[in-house]
C-alpha cells in the first residue's frame, strides 16, 4: 500500500499540479497556464510570453520559471518522499507510515501556502510605472475558484497532478490503517 503511495507521487512528473486559466472574449478558449512540480507550461510554447505581455500593462512582474526556486527544489523533495515510501514498503514499521503520511500532508500544505504567497506577490507587487493603474485594484489570481480581474475572468483549480498527491495521501493513510488491522489480527 505504501508502495502505491510512493508510486502515485511519480504522477507529479507526468501531470501538472495546478491550472490557471484566463478568459476574455478576444481569447476564445482562454489562455491556460499549467504549474508543474518542476516547471510552468501553457497551451502553446508562446503562452507564458503572452501572459507576461498582458500582465506588464498592469505592472505585474514577468513570470520567469527560472526565478522561482521552488520549481527547482520541490522535485527533489518529491523524489525523496517517493524513495522513502519504497523503503517503508520494505520495513514493517507502522508508526513510520503515519509519520510519512503526516509529512506528506504538511508538505502539501506548505506548497499551497507557498503558491498563495507567490500569487500574492505577483498580484500586489506592481510596478509604479504600470501603464494601467486602477486605484485600489490588485491582481492576485484566485487561490481556488474564479475571480474577475478587469476584462479577464481568472480560474484557478487543481490539475491532475494534485489528484496524485491526494491518492498518495490516501494510500499512505490506508497503509497505516490496514497495518493496524493486520497487527490487531496478529
Amino acid at each position: 500500500m505504501i508502495f502505491l503511495a510512493g508510486l502515485s507521487l511519480i504522477g507529479l512528473f507526468l501531470f501538472p499540479v495546478w491550472k490557471i486559466t484566463l478568459e476574455a472574449p478576444q481569447y476564445p478558449g482562454g489562455i491556460s497556464m499549467y504549474i508543474w512540480i518542476n516547471k510552468i507550461s501553457g497551451d502553446s510554447p508562446g503562452t507564458l510570453q503572452n501572459i507576461n505581455i498582458l500582465n506588464h500593462y498592469i505592472g505585474m512582474q514577468a513570470i520567469h520559471p527560472d526565478s522561482i526556486p521552488e520549481l527547482n527544489y520541490f522535485q527533489y523533495i518529491v523524489i525523496l518522499m517517493t524513495l522513502l515510501a519504497f523503503l517503508l514498503a520494505a520495513f514493517h514499521k507502522r508508526s513510520l507510515l503515519l509519520i510519512w503520511t503526516i509529512v506528506l500532508v504538511l508538505l502539501s500544505a506548505f506548497a499551497l501556502y507557498d503558491f498563495y504567497q507567490w500569487e500574492y506577490d505577483y498580484g500586489h507587487n506592481l510596478s509604479p510605472d504600470a501603464a494601467i493603474k486602477v486605484p485600489g485594484m490588485t491582481y492576485q489570481p484566485p487561490f481556488l475558484g474564479d475571480k474577475t480581474l478587469l476584462n479577464f475572468v481568472a480560474y484557478s483549480y487543481p490539475s491532475l497532478g494534485s489528484v496524485f498527491i491526494g491518492l498518495s495521501m490516501l494510500f499512505g493513510g490506508m497503509a497505516f490503517i490496514f497495518k493496524r488491522k493486520y497487527n490487531i489480527e496478529q
Binding site: 510554447p45 508562446g46 503572452n50 505581455i53 500593462y57 501603464a131 494601467i132
Partner: protein
C-alpha cells in the same frame, strides 16, 4: 362567454383569410423565396461558412478568398500586384517575387485559380493562378494563404489556358493565348503564319514541396489557345486545350478569327510526351525566364534565372497531339467527372458539342483522320461526337458538373446558366444572370467528385444591381442553390476586380492546417532579431542596418541617432509575438515604398532613404493592443558627415 368565443373564432378566421390572401401575391413576386434564400445564406455572427471560395481578381492581379454561402470576404491574397496594405512587392523580402525577365513587374492580370488535386479531387494544399500579361504561374500555400512561388513562362504571349491541373497535380498547364514568334525575335507581323507558334507548357509540381518547373513545352500551330482541362479517370494522361483563330489572322481578329465553322480542341497525350522527353526527343531551346520562390523559414523570396526549356515538336513526336474539330471559337473545355465527355463551348454558336473520349481513342486507333496540320492529325467531328446540347442559349462559355450527372453551362450572350443532363443532352433548367456571365464554379465541379450544393456565377456587368459608384462599377458573383431540380438564386455580391474563374472546397480540407503564427525559433532570416537584447544598429559606409523588434507595445530600439542624409537605412523588424492574430505594422515618415505588416515570428525589411535632416517618427500601423497608439519611435537624421554618433536605445535616455 359564448359571445367571446364567437368573437375569437371570428377573428381567427379573418386572420386566416388575411394570411392566405397575402401569401398569393408575395410568392408570385418571389418575396417568399427571397426570405427563404436569406436564411440559407445567413451565417450567424460567430458561425463559419461551409466552403472556402477563391475568386481570381482579373486585372487586380490578386486572389480573393470568400466564405460560402455567406459571400463574406475573408482575405485578398496579393499575387501578381504590389499591395501596400501588406507591403507585398514593397518590402525587401517580397520584391523578388515580382521580378521577371523584363524586370520588376508590379501588376498582372490573374484569371484562373486552380486547386491542387489528389486522385482527381481538390486536396486543399495549394492553389495555382495564372498571370496573363507577363506570362507567369503562381502557387499559393493554403496553410498560410500567401504566395510562395511565381514561375515565368518562356515562348508565351498571354498565359490564358492556365493553370489547369492534372489528376494528381503532376502538372499544371499553361497554354499561350497569343501565338508569338518562335523563338521571340524581330520579324514582320505579316510573317504570322510562317514564324509564329503557340507553346503549351507543362509545369511539373513537386508532390512534396509543390515547387514548379517547366518540364516541357509542346509547340503547336499559331492559333490562340484559350482554356484547358485535363482528363480524369479513364482520360487521365490527356490534357485538352481549346483554340480559336485557326484562321491565323493577325489583325482585326473579331472578324478574322470568327470565319471558320470549326476550330479545334488540341488533345495532348502528356504521358506520351513524357516518353518522348525521356527518349531525348526534346529540343533544349535557349530561353530567359525567372523562377521566384518564397522561403517560409527565412521569410524571404529569391530569384533563379532559367536559361533553357525542353520543346517537343508534334511532327517529330507522333501520337502526342490530335485536333478535335469543335464549332465556332470554343472557350471552355470541360471534362465531366467520369472523364468520358469533353464539352467544348463554341462561344459563337447556339449549340454545344460534346465529344466522347472513348470515341476519340477509337478514331485514333482506326486512323480515321480528315487531314493533318503541321503533323498533327485532325480527327473527324462526326467520329467523336457524343451529343449536342441543342438551342440551349447563345454564347456558351464554360461548364461545370454536379455529383448527380448534371452539367451547368454559362451563356454570355443570353446571360444565363443552363442546366442539362450529361448523356441525354436535354436542357432541364435555366436561370438568368445579372448580367453577362463569364465562368461559373461549383465546389469541386471540375473534379472527379463535385461537392455540389452551390453554383457561383461570375458576371462581367452589374449596371443597376448595386448602388452606383460613378462610371466604374464592380463585377459580381451570384450564388445559386443547385441541390434541387430548379436552380435558385440565393445571393449576389460585388467582387474584388474581375473574377474570371473560381475554385471552392469544404473548409474542413483547410481549416485545421491553417497556420496561426510563425515560430520564432524557426525564423532563419539573416537579419532576424530574436530578443530585445540583440537589437542594434550597424553602419557599413552609407548602408545602415537597424535590427529592431516589435512586441506589445513598443519597438526596440525606438530612439535612433546618427543617421545621415543619403543613407540607405534598412529597418529589419522582427515581430517577437507568438500569439495568434497579433501582427505589428511599421511605417516611417518619408518612406517612398509602403508599410510593413509583420506576422508573429516574422521578420520584414523596409528600405528608407532619408533626404532631409530632422527627427522623424515611426509607428505601428496595425492596432495591436491597448497601447498601440504609444507604439512609436524617433529616428534622427543629420547632415552628411555630421559627427552625431550612431546610437540607439529604448526605455532609458542615452544609455
Amino acid at each position: 362567454m359564448k359571445a367571446n368565443k364567437l368573437i375569437t373564432i371570428g377573428l381567427c378566421s379573418i386572420t386566416c383569410i388575411l394570411l392566405i390572401s397575402c401569401k398569393g401575391p408575395v410568392s408570385q413576386q418571389g418575396g417568399m423565396e427571397a426570405g427563404d434564400a436569406a436564411s440559407r445564406v445567413y451565417v450567424a455572427p460567430g458561425q463559419m461558412d461551409e466552403y472556402y471560395a477563391f475568386l481570381s481578381g482579373g486585372f487586380s492581379g490578386q486572389l480573393s478568398v470568400y466564405g460560402l454561402p455567406s459571400g463574406r470576404l475573408l482575405k485578398v491574397i496579393p499575387v501578381f500586384s504590389v499591395d501596400g496594405e501588406k507591403g507585398y512587392g514593397f518590402n525587401e523580402e517580397t520584391r523578388s517575387m515580382l521580378q521577371t525577365s523584363y524586370g520588376f513587374v508590379p501588376w498582372d492580370d490573374a484569371h484562373h485559380p486552380e486547386l491542387s488535386q489528389t486522385n482527381g479531387v481538390p486536396d486543399g494544399r495549394w492553389i495555382f493562378i495564372n498571370g496573363n500579361n507577363t506570362c507567369r504561374v503562381a502557387r499559393i500555400d493554403l496553410t498560410t494563404f500567401e504566395t510562395v512561388e511565381i514561375l515565368e513562362l518562356p515562348n508565351s504571349g498571354g498565359n490564358h489556358s492556365s493553370p489547369f491541373t492534372t489528376e494528381n497535380t503532376e502538372y499544371v498547364v499553361a497554354g499561350t493565348r497569343f501565338s508569338v514568334p518562335f523563338p521571340q525575335q524581330d520579324v514582320p507581323i505579316e510573317s504570322y503564319r510562317e514564324r509564329f507558334k503557340g507553346a503549351l507548357s507543362f509545369i511539373s509540381v513537386d508532390p512534396v514541396t509543390g515547387q514548379m518547373k517547366v518540364a516541357f513545352q509542346v509547340l503547336l500551330p499559331a492559333f490562340n489557345y484559350d482554356l484547358a482541362h485535363s482528363g480524369k479517370g479513364k482520360s487521365h494522361g490527356w490534357t485538352f486545350f481549346t483554340s480559336y483563330n485557326t484562321e491565323q489572322s493577325n489583325t482585326l481578329l473579331e472578324a478574322g478569327a470568327s470565319q471558320n465553322d470549326k476550330d479545334f480542341i488540341a488533345a495532348v497525350n502528356w504521358k506520351k510526351a513524357e516518353e518522348y522527353l525521356k527518349a531525348g526527343k526534346a529540343h533544349a531551346i535557349k530561353a530567359n525566364y525567372l523562377h521566384n520562390v518564397y522561403d517560409e523559414g527565412s521569410h524571404m523570396a529569391s530569384t533563379e534565372e532559367m536559361n533553357t526549356v525542353n520543346v517537343l515538336i508534334p511532327e517529330e513526336c507522333p501520337d502526342m497531339v490530335y485536333f478535335l474539330p469543335t464549332p465556332k471559337s470554343p472557350h471552355g473545355v470541360d471534362v465531366d467527372p467520369t472523364g468520358e465527355y469533353i464539352v467544348g463551348a463554341g462561344k459563337l454558336s447556339a449549340d454545344m458539342s460534346v465529344h466522347s473520349f472513348t470515341k476519340m481513342l477509337d478514331a485514333i486507333g482506326r486512323k480515321s483522320f480528315e487531314g493533318t496540320i503541321e503533323g498533327i492529325p485532325v480527327v473527324k467531328y462526326e467520329d467523336i461526337l457524343a451529343g449536342v446540347v441543342q438551342s440551349s442559349g447563345l454564347g456558351p462559355l464554360h461548364t461545370e458538373f454536379d455529383a448527380a450527372g448534371n452539367a451547368y453551362t454559362t451563356f454570355f450572350i443570353s446571360s444565363e446558366v443552363v442546366k442539362w443532363k450529361v448523356g441525354s443532352w436535354e436542357v432541364v433548367d435555366r436561370a438568368p444572370c445579372y448580367y453577362s456571365v463569364g465562368h461559373l464554379m461549383i465546389p469541386g465541379g471540375d473534379s472527379r467528385q463535385p461537392f455540389g450544393k452551390y453554383l457561383l456565377a461570375m458576371n462581367k456587368i452589374t449596371k443597376d444591381r448595386y448602388l452606383p459608384t460613378g462610371p466604374e462599377l464592380n463585377q459580381s458573383a451570384q450564388l445559386y442553390d443547385i441541390s434541387g431540380e430548379k436552380m435558385q438564386l440565393l445571393l449576389d455580391f460585388p467582387t474584388v476586380g474581375e473574377p474570371h474563374y473560381a475554385q471552392a472546397l469544404p473548409t474542413s480540407l483547410i481549416i485545421d492546417r491553417s497556420k496561426k503564427i510563425y515560430k520564432l525559433e524557426e525564423n532563419s532570416h539573416p537579419y532576424a532579431t530574436k530578443s530585445e537584447a540583440e537589437g542594434k544598429v550597424t553602419r557599413e559606409g552609407n548602408v545602415v542596418h537597424v535590427y529592431m523588434t516589435a512586441i506589445r507595445s513598443h519597438f526596440s530600439p525606438d530612439n535612433i541617432e546618427g543617421i545621415q542624409t543619403g543613407d540607405k537605412v534598412y529597418f529589419h523588424v522582427t515581430n517577437l509575438e507568438q500569439d495568434w492574430d497579433v501582427p505589428h505594422g511599421f511605417a516611417v515618415q518619408g518612406a517612398l515604398n509602403a508599410e510593413l505588416l509583420i506576422m508573429p515570428g516574422q521578420t520584414e525589411t523596409l528600405l528608407w532613404e532619408p533626404k532631409r535632416e530632422g527627427v522623424f517618427p515611426f509607428y505601428c500601423t496595425d492596432f495591436c493592443s491597448a497601447l498601440h497608439q504609444e507604439m512609436q519611435g524617433y529616428v534622427r537624421v543629420s547632415g552628411r558627415n555630421a559627427n552625431v554618433p550612431l546610437k540607439w536605445w529604448v526605455g532609458s535616455q542615452n544609455p
